[in-house]
């Protein structure tokens, strides 16, 4: 059953609105204040948000949008904004009001229902997200790389790879391995959100491979913070005795017993400004060369391709 958070006093005031939606299996969660709406998003996130532009005190609608955007359990919670008059739409900053759709009052219950279904359908269409991390997948990644190449500004296209991930999976099982993947995804998203929000991108290629794109000047601080945060959090995912030993013995791909290091991260970076790329394929080819070198180093490291460093 779809759960819809309804933020605002008047949205569902008419009983016919409620009846139409509930009859179609939607569960409506009516919230009148910011505090309880954000609590819900934090503790038990809904599948969709319908919000009045005049919800709560002045900054409440934006705070609520932020909470929805920051919601880690469900990315892509569609948001429908309800406004009272057409005039309000003209000056609205849609970057700030990052909503998916809007409705101007008054509207018939059928219209609201149609908009809800449309938002659901649109969400499925754009969904190439990874089911585990919920980050954008390959279609979006290729598009983002192409956009970085075409941009006037130089961007760092950064490939993250988890070192010793396969032996970790063999030793502790796939479910633990999935947790590590999720952990890396969270670290990357949060660091980029904090240090380089504008014009950045994070995607999940699959398995233990991620790509992020940030402006050139943000590459160093972002890579350094990701690696530092990984070092702190990693210890929560490795049992104390292995952590103490600093390594473990597992069979390698040929079945021979081999000593493996604990988990670490390697980040291979290609700067778009240092090359004349035309096609995204060129970026990934160069990145795999860099990756080859950075993976040889012990522990967590990042490396920027040599030609970018002149």
């Amino acid at each position: 059953m779809k759960r819809i958070l309804v933020a605002g006093e008047k949205i569902i005031s008419a009983p016919e609105h409620r009846i139409v939606l509930e009859a179609k299996g939607y569960q409506l969660l009516l919230m009148h204040d910011l505090h309880s709406a954000v609590s819900l998003i934090l503790e038990d996130p809904p599948d969709m948000l319908i919000m009045e532009k005049t919800f709560g005190e002045d900054k409440a609608p934006l705070a609520l949008l932020n909470a929805v955007k920051g919601c880690l359990q469900k990315t892509n919670i569609p948001v429908i904004l309800i406004v009272d008059d057409k005039q309000a739409l003209a000056g609205l900053d849609w970057q700030q009001y990052a909503v998916d759709d809007f409705l101007v009052r008054p509207f018939a219950p059928e219209v609201l229902r149609a908009r809800i279904r449309l938002a659901e359908a649109r969400m499925i269409r754009v969904f190439d997200n990874n089911p585990l991390s919920r980050l954008p997948g390959n279609t979006s990644i290729l598009r983002a790389i192409q956009k970085a190449i075409d941009s006037d500004e130089s961007h760092g296209v950064c490939y993250i790879d988890i070192d010793n991930f396969k032996p970790y999976n063999d030793r502790y099982g796939f479910s633990q391995g999935d947790d590590v993947i999720l952990m890396v995804a969270r670290i990357a998203v949060n660091v980029i959100d904090e240090l380089a929000r504008e014009g950045s991108f994070v995607g999940h290629v699959g398995g233990d491979d991620f790509v992020f794109i940030v402006k050139e000047e943000k590459v160093k601080p972002v890579c350094e913070r990701i690696l530092a945060n990984f070092e702190i959090v990693r210890n929560m995912f490795i049992p104390a005795e292995d952590l103490k030993a600093g390594c473990y013995v597992e069979k390698d791909r040929q079945g021979r017993e081999t000593v493996f290091g604990l988990l670490s991260l390697s980040i291979a970076v290609v700067m778009t400004g240092a090359h004349h790329f035309i096609h995204y394929g060129e970026v990934s080819t160069l990145a795999s060369e860099v990756k080859h070198f950075v993976k040889k180093k012990e522990g967590s490291n990042y490396m920027i391709d040599r030609r970018s460093q002149v």
Partner: protein, 290 residues
């Protein structure tokens, strides 16, 4: 009859939802969140000084939703994994004490002081993860807050019992409720999916021998609780210092020389904490005048 009352208490305590925080802390954090230059780390530092917010943060990161059940015992890791936006949401969704009593501040100071002692001891004893021990120390009395908030009437009776009969709070709890705050804190931690490494020390901080896997951590919290009460920094609803478990003491294996050094280090670190406490109270007063 007695059993049904007890099960009612248990039921009420299990359903505890939103534990309130000191208004001064929320005011400070709200102001920080509005400033675009504030870093996650700075917010984390303030949150790590509040037993309620720390518990909420751990509850959130260990919830099935966020994907890391029973895994994250460190506040730093929780903050890194949740990120700035979620922390902001946590602050917006936090409730504050409607009617703040001096005793809420006392318990807060006691919790924070206990965490300081835990951290000094854990580092000295060379435990593998000192931050985990100080986190457990910070939230060790979370059961007390739950009892106060969920069983308001009973809590008044408990206070009366402590006052009239001059008995320790924990004795009153056992007599009236049939359970004590350590046990309550233990289940809360467990129902919030916190790692066993935190649950056991909280549940056993008055009786560290009952701990199966985390006896050392439980003993550190047990002794830190006593030491900080002895130093008179904050308190927890009564004025007595709880009795020291002999076995826990032996397990810690501290010499009088060690104790002198520990006390010195604790006193030094408490300065920082006391400064923060004054800041929070000033925050509250300025918040009330504006």
């Amino acid at each position: 009859m007695e059993d049904t009352r007890q099960s009612q208490f248990r039921k009420a305590l299990r359903e505890v939802k939103n534990l309130p925080t000191l208004p001064g802390i929320i005011a400070k954090l709200t102001r920080m969140a509005e400033n675009p230059d504030t870093t996650t780390e700075q917010m984390g530092k303030v949150i790590s000084k509040d037993h309620i917010l720390a518990a909420k943060l751990l509850k959130l990161v260990n919830s099935a939703f966020y994907g890391f059940p029973q895994k994250i015992s460190s506040l730093n890791s929780a903050i890194i994994l949740l990120g700035f936006n979620v922390i902001k949401s946590l602050i917006i969704s936090s409730s504050i004490f409607e009617l703040m009593e001096s005793q809420d501040v006392e318990l807060w100071e006691h919790s924070l002081g206990c965490a300081v002692v835990c951290s000094v001891l854990a580092n000295r004893l060379g435990v593998s993860d000192p931050e985990e021990v100080s986190t457990a120390g910070l939230i060790h009395d979370i059961g007390k807050v739950a009892i106060k908030m969920e069983l308001r009437q009973e809590f008044e009776t408990l206070r009366q019992m402590v006052h009239d009969r001059q008995i320790p709070m924990i004795e009153a709890e056992k007599e009236l409720l049939g359970i004590d705050h350590a046990e309550v804190g233990g289940w809360l931690a467990k129902s919030w999916n916190l790692p066993a490494k935190l649950v056991e020390p909280i549940a056993c901080h008055h009786n560290p021998l009952e701990a199966k896997d985390e006896q050392l951590c439980a003993s550190i919290i047990h002794f830190s609780d006593i030491l900080i009460r002895g130093l008179g920094y904050g308190h927890g609803d009564d004025v007595w210092v709880p009795p020291l478990s002999k076995t826990a003491w032996q397990l810690l294996n501290l010499t009088p020389q060690d104790l002198d050094e520990i006390l010195e280090e604790v006193e030094e670190k408490l300065w920082d904490v006391k400064g923060f406490s004054l800041e929070i109270q000033a925050e509250l007063e300025s918040g009330m005048t504006t």
